[in-house]
């Protein structure tokens, strides 16, 4: 079936929002830490893991989700949360540590939790995967046709939780789709140095589920595969594993010198930046006119600017609020 124009455009709009959000966060993050980098300083202190380049994996799955579907993600969560429609203002405020944030400042960038839409992330590699399995377990018990999506990276595929989660999901035939964002690096360690086999999608059959490799960092390719996998899960067909070869354009964390990747590698990534290739195709296919594109970019940027302004102008929580919310 032809891909609806609305989906094609919505994916692009989300990509623009994501890329601009990551750029603005990066700018602010680094801005008041230099000249001598002090990780504790500035309006956004601590670690920061940005997803520029990985937009296609996040936006490709979103058109197939519905109300009540659950997502768990990783320490590099922004693109997924934005694509899913997590409240951008509250998300930005949480990253800035403000009281108006998703967690009233208690979670920060690696621990973003939203209820509508249902989104959560874990800073511990692979440990969000069993939680997604649990959401799918609940959906099955409740008789709903909701699905859970579990995002993780190539590095996570060697952690025990990955293997336990896939086995459980297949054993109990749960409506969960596992999505591996293969950006080929776990911090500085390339996949060839960490993983005994070439493709983590191969591991799927060892756990009794189909595995699909998407070798292109292309939202439409992800869209087509995700559509099938999510429909299958909703239909009672059980779990599957999708591995997408994507690009982490920047370092593992902001401040990472990224010296372990060659200039040629980085140049090649820049060449195939989905923010260039995807809109070029939309324009050449007449899905978007240049005027529409400009308008879309304007709106996406405005939403991000508004969210960041909201975050900047929001108050910090009172210090003693640190003692709240341990127990319900």
């Amino acid at each position: 079936m032809e891909i609806p124009r609305d989906d094609l455009v919505a994916m692009y709009a989300a990509m623009v929002k994501i890329r601009y959000f990551e750029e603005r966060i990066r700018e602010i993050y680094l801005d008041d830490k230099l000249p001598a980098f002090d990780i504790a300083a500035g309006r956004i202190p601590g670690e920061m893991h940005l997803a520029a380049g990985q937009e296609p994996v996040a936006v490709g799955v979103m058109p197939h989700l519905k109300d009540g579907d659950a997502i768990t993600a990783t320490h590099r969560p922004h693109h997924i949360a934005i694509a899913q429609g997590v409240d951008l203002q509250q998300m930005a405020a949480e990253i800035f540590g403000k009281d108006t944030g998703l967690g009233h400042g208690k979670g920060g960038h690696m621990h973003l939790f939203s209820i509508h839409p249902e989104f959560g992330c874990s800073g511990i590699i692979a440990e969000g995967m069993p939680v997604a399995v649990g959401a799918a377990l609940a959906f099955k018990k409740q008789g709903s046709d909701n699905v859970a999506l579990s995002f993780f990276g190539d590095g996570a595929a060697n952690q025990g939780a990955f293997h336990e989660s896939l086995n459980l999901a297949a054993l109990w035939n749960l409506p969960v789709v596992f999505i591996c964002e293969d950006n080929r690096y776990a911090i500085s360690v390339p996949k060839e140095a960490s993983t005994a086999i070439a493709d983590n999608s191969d591991r799927a059959s060892a756990y009794g589920m189909p595995g699909v490799l998407v070798p292109d960092n292309d939202p439409v390719a992800v869209y087509e595969v995700a559509r099938e996998a999510i429909a299958r899960a909703r239909d009672g067909g059980g779990p599957s594993l999708i591995e997408v070869e994507t690009d982490r354009l920047w370092g593992h964390f902001e401040g990472d010198m990224d010296a372990y990747r060659s200039d040629e590698f980085k140049a090649a990534m820049a060449e195939r930046d989905p923010m260039k290739t995807y809109p070029a195709r939309l324009l050449s296919e007449g899905v978007l006119t240049p005027e529409e594109q400009e308008q879309l970019i304007k709106e996406a940027h405005a939403a991000v600017d508004e969210a960041i302004a909201f975050a900047e102008s929001s108050p910090y929580p009172r210090p003693e609020d640190a003692l709240l919310h341990v127990f319900a």
């Binding site: 493709d199 999608s201 699909v212 087509e224 299958r232 070869e245």
Partner: protein, 327 residues
């Protein structure tokens, strides 16, 4: 005189696409492929002396096969000076390098897409394609050890017994010169996306070559209208007309409506209609410009393994040292 070279290209990416979800296609994982290569190497040694010139593929398949065969005799294996990037063009570049290096023939481990890329890089290639793909329409359906033995014989023997394959040359595509060895299917979709073809309602037309009656895919559509005589391809136009039950892929049975068909001899071209926005070559979509055409040509050859083996004593009847086993 140096032994003839056997070109080897193993594709780590075959058999992993969306057809695992939209059909019943299985995954052929890297271990399985490495095992195929290992068996091939063992079988090559059984025949007359050869050496192997291989692509050092991005999945480490050949290296893994070398590890698996470390304690058994195999021919010497050398890697091509082609850096594999884990992209489709690795196969094309490797095939082209093998042509330049004067390799006697090419063994592929992959599917029809792998064969396609290889032929694109080496249009006159002598092929021995081992099945590690989804449809495997162009294939040597023989256990890889035996295939290796036959390949060694073929490298020393007479190419006259090779089967000539029809080739489809794409003229005017957006991505530069391209070929197909099984089919070129025009679809209404404008997107390359997940590349595979499964949505029959989007089919506009197809040009099908080399359609064995036992093959799945477009070949099963073309074959419904009778065998394709050598030196021809069949142009199929989809639309109201005759409904055919086709087996489009593993576990994928679909009814398609065919409005008309005709045979197209070598030398003639088929122009795609304006409805065709994207053409899938051997099962993978790529972009086209309006006015793209497919010319029926010839070029690659399939090594006739059964005939070669029939003319030859099998190992066990010869000296067992890997020499002098020709018939």
């Amino acid at each position: 005189m140096t032994s003839p070279s056997i070109g080897l290209i193993a594709n780590p990416a075959s058999s992993k696409d969306i057809r695992r979800l939209v059909g019943l296609a299985r995954v052929v994982d890297v271990e399985e492929k490495a095992n195929l290569v290992a068996r091939l190497l063992a079988g090559l040694w059984a025949g007359p002396p050869t050496r192997v010139l291989a692509l050092d593929d991005a999945g480490g398949l050949v290296r893994r096969a070398l590890h698996l065969t470390r304690s058994i005799p195999i021919p010497p294996v050398e890697f091509l000076p082609v850096e594999a990037e884990g992209r489709e063009h690795d196969t094309r570049r490797a095939a082209s390098a093998l042509a330049d290096a004067g390799a006697a023939l090419l063994v592929t481990v992959g599917g029809d897409g792998t064969v396609r890329s290889a032929v694109e890089g080496w249009p006159e290639v002598r092929l021995l394609p081992l099945a590690a793909g989804t449809n495997n329409a162009i294939v040597t359906p023989v256990e890889p050890t035996i295939a290796g033995y036959a390949a060694a014989l073929a490298a020393h023997g007479d190419p006259a017994s090779d089967q000539e394959l029809t080739l489809l040359r794409v003229i005017g595509g957006a991505d530069g010169p391209a070929v197909a060895v099984v089919d070129a299917v025009g679809v209404r979709s404008r997107w390359v996306g997940a590349k595979a073809l499964w949505q029959t309602e989007a089919f506009v037309e197809a040009v099908v070559a080399n359609a064995r009656t036992t093959a799945v895919g477009m070949a099963s559509v073309a074959a419904a209208f009778g065998p394709i005589p050598p030196g021809h391809a069949r142009h199929v136009v989809f639309g109201t007309g005759r409904r055919i039950r086709a087996i489009l892929g593993p576990g994928q049975v679909a009814d398609v409506d065919v409005a008309s068909t005709r045979l197209v001899p070598i030398g003639q071209a088929v122009s795609f209609s304006d409805e065709t926005r994207v053409v899938a070559l051997d099962g993978e979509r790529r972009i086209v410009t309006p006015g793209t055409a497919v010319e029926v040509a010839t070029g690659p050859r399939l090594i006739a393994v059964t005939e070669i083996l029939a003319k030859t004593r099998k190992p066990g009847f010869g000296s067992g040292s890997g020499e002098g086993a020709e018939g």
